[in-house]
Symmetry: C2
């Protein structure tokens, strides 16, 4: 449909000017769209960075039975940060594409401007010849009125004839200006119809390209949305997979203090005979009195005594007892 071809006429003949500036505004539109995408990219970048920060915050939480759960949060925040960062990258690529497109567009507009330069002249021509026509018409009217006035006032024939001649001359000039205007009008109509069509074509190409850029933007947003959905699904699944009993068990296994209850203790008699009979170290697990901590180690009576003490110190019989 020739929308431009039929809607940019009108009294003032400034449709051409409107359409020309609309074409040029296409360059601003691309810049505005790029600005929008840049702003969106900045928002996504901030979001991505905040998610990374959140992940680091999580890393410091690592005590108690709940601790392993934080890994799930950390992983999820890291992945979310990545998804949004990937979007930033895509949007920045898109901005570059927009800039390239705008460069092409500038060239196209320059070419179009040249192509429609004849129309601009025709517009100026029809405007100026219209003005001139009005001027000649006004002149003819005033000359005719002068002639008419002289006739009514009963002026001399000579004066009347002179005025009539002036009126007739003005009428001729008026007619000539009409002829000139008609030529300008015809030229303008042809060239303006052609330019309007050209402007509409340029606009169609511009808008198709703009829609293509929006589609590209939209795809990037959509891809990220899908990825974010997957990250969240994974988070849910991971939380589900870590059962309460798993957390309890993991804690017991990693933080447990031991499975051995304090054993029974029997009286250990001092017996120097054993010292002489068994100088080798006992292989059996020694009984240790629980609850003594470091001191217990120092007074460990079950290890093989060192050479110096073999004689001077008696061996304590180590009893391994079941309980």
């Amino acid at each position: 449909m020739q929308h431009f071809g039929s809607n940019f006429w009108g009294e003032k003949n400034n449709g051409f000017d409107i359409l020309y500036h609309n074409m040029k505004h296409g360059q601003i539109s691309v810049k505005e769209l790029a600005d929008f995408v840049r702003e969106r990219a900045l928002i996504e970048e901030t979001y991505s960075k905040s998610m990374s920060k959140l992940s680091k915050m999580v890393s410091n939480s690592s005590l108690g039975t709940f601790a392993p759960m934080w890994d799930v949060f950390r992983t999820s925040a890291d992945k979310l940060a990545l998804c949004h960062f990937e979007l930033v990258r895509k949007l920045n690529d898109l901005i570059k594409e927009m800039n390239r497109f705008n460069e092409e567009q500038v060239k196209m507009h320059r070419k179009t401007k040249e192509e429609v330069s004849g129309t601009l002249e025709a517009v100026q021509n029809v405007q100026s010849s219209g003005q001139l026509l009005q001027k000649y018409k006004d002149n003819y009217q005033s000359k005719w009125l002068e002639w008419d006035r002289l006739k009514k006032d009963g002026a001399s024939q000579k004066e009347i004839d002179k005025a009539e001649a002036k009126s007739k001359k003005a009428a001729e000039s008026y007619k000539a200006s009409i002829k000139k205007y008609r030529t300008a009008r015809s030229d303008y109509q042809l060239k303006m119809a052609d330019a309007a069509q050209k402007f509409q074509q340029v606009e169609e190409i511009h808008l198709r390209h703009m829609k293509g850029l929006i589609k590209s933007y939209s795809h990037s947003i959509e891809d990220t949305h899908v990825q974010v959905g997957q990250v969240h699904e994974e988070f849910k699944q991971n939380v589900e997979n870590i059962r309460v009993q798993d957390l309890i068990q993991k804690y017991a296994l990693t933080k447990g203090t031991g499975k051995e209850k304090p054993g029974p203790i029997e009286f250990e008699e001092c017996n120097p005979e054993v010292l002489l009979e068994a100088p080798k170290k006992s292989k059996r697990k020694s009984f240790v009195i629980p609850g003594l901590g470091k001191r217990e180690k120092d007074t460990d009576s079950t290890g093989s005594p060192d050479a110096d003490s073999i004689v001077s110190k008696p061996t304590i019989i180590s009893l391994t007892l079941s309980w």
Copy 2:
């Protein structure tokens, strides 16, 4: 499974201490989870505010054929802002729920602390009686060694007898401490098994509740994700619905300068007769010379002349012409 019941024994008998502090750490875990959710809520709030800002930025773009497209961007950004703001609201509610839960938990921990106070005593008892036992054992050993040395060094019988008596007395004390330790050990084993079970129950309740809170968090995130998806789907659809031809047409209709091409102009003869015959205003659309702007209005020859000029000014025959 009794994970706590079997993994918190060991030499130093400090399983009770570990489990008690793990229980208390549950309060920190809730606070950490609340902190995490608060941080996430802040991130979402920032995102929401940025989207609102983006929407306002879009509102300033309104020239050219592309202009109507910005409405789609603006609407989408506004809706995205709303989605994320709704999430902020939900997360803040969740934080309140976490705080309430923690208050309940503090009471529960206080109650549990009272219930296991007997176990704490039993732990202290088994530790101190174990230390005492070691002390009596050491004493017995040194007394026995003294007696043994006197015998080997050929000391007087009186001295040997005295040392033997001391050694026997030390052995008795040693035996008594073993008996005391056995009682403490038995008490400790019973009470510790009971406390471990209690701690595990507390932990299970804590973790189930924590998982419930995570689920609530997860649902809110998921709801928002679905809403954001809908907003994007709507955006895509809206962009799709606005065809290039629609934009062209809309621009032509709103910014169009008129459908009328400059008409043909005929010579208008001055004729005072018409003035006298037809003083009524012509109903037909008048012909206007295009291209004259304001001046054209001033010199409009087609309107009915005002009363003063009816006689003094002739009427110009207005011709409505087809072209």
